[in-house]
Every structure is written in C-alpha cells, then in structure tokens.
Amino acid sequence: MWIQILLVVAVIVIGLFLARPTGGDSHLAIRRLFMFGFVIVAIVSILFPQWLSYIANLIGVGRGADLLLYALVLAFLISVATTYRRNVQVNRRITHLAREITLARAEAEDALRRAAVVDSAARPEAPARPEAAERVEGTVRVDPPKLDGAAGQVG
C-alpha cells in the first residue's frame, strides 16, 4: 500500500514542478541531486543485493525487481520534466540572441539608408542611391543559409 501513496505523490510533485514558472537553475540542481542519489543506491544494491528486496517488502512491493521498475518509471518522468524545462530555457536564450542579431542588422541597414538619402540629397546628379543600396546588400545582409541547392551552386 505504501508504494501506491509514494508513487502518486511523486508523480504529482513532478507534474507541479513542470507547471511551475521557470525559476533559475533549479532543474540542474535537481538533476545533480538525482544523479548523486542514483550512484549511492547503485553502490548499496551491488554490495547488499538483499537490501532492495528488504525495502520492497517494507513498503508493500513483492520483489526488489518490481521496486526497481517503479523507480525507473519515476526516474524517466523526472528526466523528461527537467529536460523539457531545460529546452524551454535554451529556446528562450536562442530567441533573445536571434532578436539581438535581427535588430542590430536592422539598425545598421537603417543607418546606411539614412546615409544614402543624405548622399543623394547632397549630390543630386550622382547616382548615389543605387550604389549605397548595393553596399547594403554586400556588407550587412546575412541571408539565412539555404539548405537545398546552395552546395550545387557553389561548385
């Protein structure tokens, strides 16, 4: 009976952890604590094989192997939860990075455009605008890599 209570509580805690707003590096700390516990339990079960069955009987599980399975299920859930959160944080960082690149590029292009307008206003007879526009193309524009066909064109 104890095992049912333990498992249900553990699953609920993992679920709550998933739904909680992101807070710093807590997922990393939990991962490390979990790994530490895993190492300890592994060593103990190697040294004292009867230990697992003893614990299992204590909390209402028939065999040590069954307890191991339950523990694995929980471990998998925790792993999924922490990995998901980690992914969300990494994605957020990528977004900030990409946005900074986009805005920096836009600022540079705007500055060149303003310069081109001033240029053409100062010398209306000179073809300043097309030149400047080419400069924008050449120096600032960084197109996203084309995955298909680009290699063939290079060769």
């Binding site: 739904a19 986009t102 600022e107 996203p144």
Partner: protein, 253 residues
C-alpha cells in the same frame, strides 16, 4: 461623448453616424499613415505577401515585416512591395516575430500605434483603419479585433468550437472578457507595447499578449472585424491539433 463600453457591438457603419468619420480629414485614407507602424510576422507567404503589403502601402507609410526564416521568396516579395523587412536568422515562431517587431518600432521616432496584421491576407485594411479611429477617438491603448462580435465571419463549426475553447481558456487565464482569441488584427499603442515582453515564441503568444496587455491596466476595447477565409488562408490556418500545442505551451512553462 459616448459612454465607455468594453465591447463594441455596433457595425462600423454605425460609427460613421456616431461621428467617427464625419469630418473630411477623417475619411482621408491615409489619415493614420504617419504615426502607425504595421507589424507583419512573415513566414513562407511568397504568393500573397506582395499583394498584402502593396494594399497596406496605399494607407500606411510604415510597414515592417519580420521574416521568420522563410525558405521561399517572401523577403524579396515584401521588399519589392515596399515593406521594411527584418530577418530572423533562424525560425523562432510568430510570437517571437511580433516581439521583434515591437522592439523595432519602439526605436522608431514618431511611432504612436502598432497594428499587428497577418501576412496571409485574411484581415481587412478597412477594419484596421476603423480600429485606429476608435483608439484615437476614445484614447484607448489596445483594440482587439474580434470576429465573433457580428455575423460577417463564418469560420465553420469545427474552427468555431476550437476558437471558442481558446477564448474560454484565454478569459480564464487573463481575467479579461474577450469574445475572440487568436485574432491577429490588433491595435496597440506604443507605450502599451513597450510595457510587455512576449516570451511564448509559438502560437500561445495570442493568449499571452492578452494576458500581459491586460495586466498593464491600460484601457482596451474589442472591435468587430471580418476575417476573409480564403482557400489559401484556410490551408495555412491552424489545425485543430495545434490547439493542443497551444494549451501545453500555456500550462507548461
């Protein structure tokens, strides 16, 4: 001065009678061209974006497309039609594109209002103009477009159920009482846009934007708009399965 209502249920034609468009200055089709920036998230819409931008250019000076890593000729089409195109180096999602647009417009001198507009041509420019009229006349910071305030739009019953569920979830989480969620046509005053940061990169931003704008406490309205469900926008539209993604994105952060 008409009383303040959170829901505007009148047809646009009634607004003309109420005095929204009675002076000659206000029926000028370019009356909002100087202080309004159109923000269009753009992702693989090469067949329609040129026409959408060209039509917007007849009414507005400033059209910003945020290309979200398109693999087709969307960027060239939008630029040829006269839009300012910002390019995400990788695909991030529509919410991320909107936030990039807000950040960019925030740096532009003279920007007073942002209109978010979909690239697939399902919004009517006339609706955007009337929403801007309303925002300026009643000095509200946010105007949400809603397709359910009148019966012009017929999304079909599956989409109707999905959208109404999205509305229900949105109202539940935001505390606002909207009649439509996930409608891409919005008018946001720049000071309101500066006070929010969208962190939902994907489609869940539509609920997030309502939530965060609502938290600013600035005055808001809904305005009846029509969505033009062309075959193209239908084929591009969100599938029912995608609403599962939206729900998970909102609940699991």
């Amino acid at each position: 001065m008409p009383e303040r209502r959170s829901h505007v249920r009148a047809q646009p034609i009634l607004f003309c009678k109420n005095g929204l468009m009675d002076s000659s200055a206000q029926v000028d089709p370019r009356r909002h061209s100087r202080d309004t920036w159109i923000v269009i998230p753009l992702y693989n819409e090469e067949s329609v974006i040129g026409r959408v931008v060209a039509e917007l250019r007849e009414h507005f000076d400033h059209i910003v497309c945020i290309d979200d890593g398109s693999t087709d000729d969307s960027v060239a089409e939008a630029e040829a039609a006269g839009a300012r195109v910002l390019r995400h180096p990788v695909n991030l999602g529509q919410g991320a594109a909107l936030q990039t647009g807000f950040d960019y417009v925030g740096t532009q001198p003279g920007a007073g209002y942002i209109v978010t507009f979909d690239a697939d041509g399902q919004h009517r420019i006339e609706d955007a103009m009337l929403m801007l009229d309303l925002a300026k006349r009643d000095d509200v910071a946010i105007v949400f477009g809603s397709r359910f305030l009148d019966d012009r739009t017929n999304p079909g019953w599956v989409k109707h159920v999905v959208l109404k569920t999205a509305v229900w979830v949105t109202n539940l989480t935001t505390g606002l009482q909207l009649t439509d969620a996930h409608n891409g046509l919005r008018v946001i005053r720049t000071d309101a846009a500066a006070r929010i940061t969208l962190e939902q990169d994907r489609m869940a931003h539509a609920t997030e934007i309502v939530l965060k704008l609502g938290r600013t406490g600035l005055p808001w309205r809904e305005f009846p708009v029509e969505l033009l469900y062309t075959d193209y926008s239908k084929s591009k539209g969100q599938s029912v399965l995608n609403s599962v993604n939206i729900l998970v994105d909102l609940l699991v952060r």
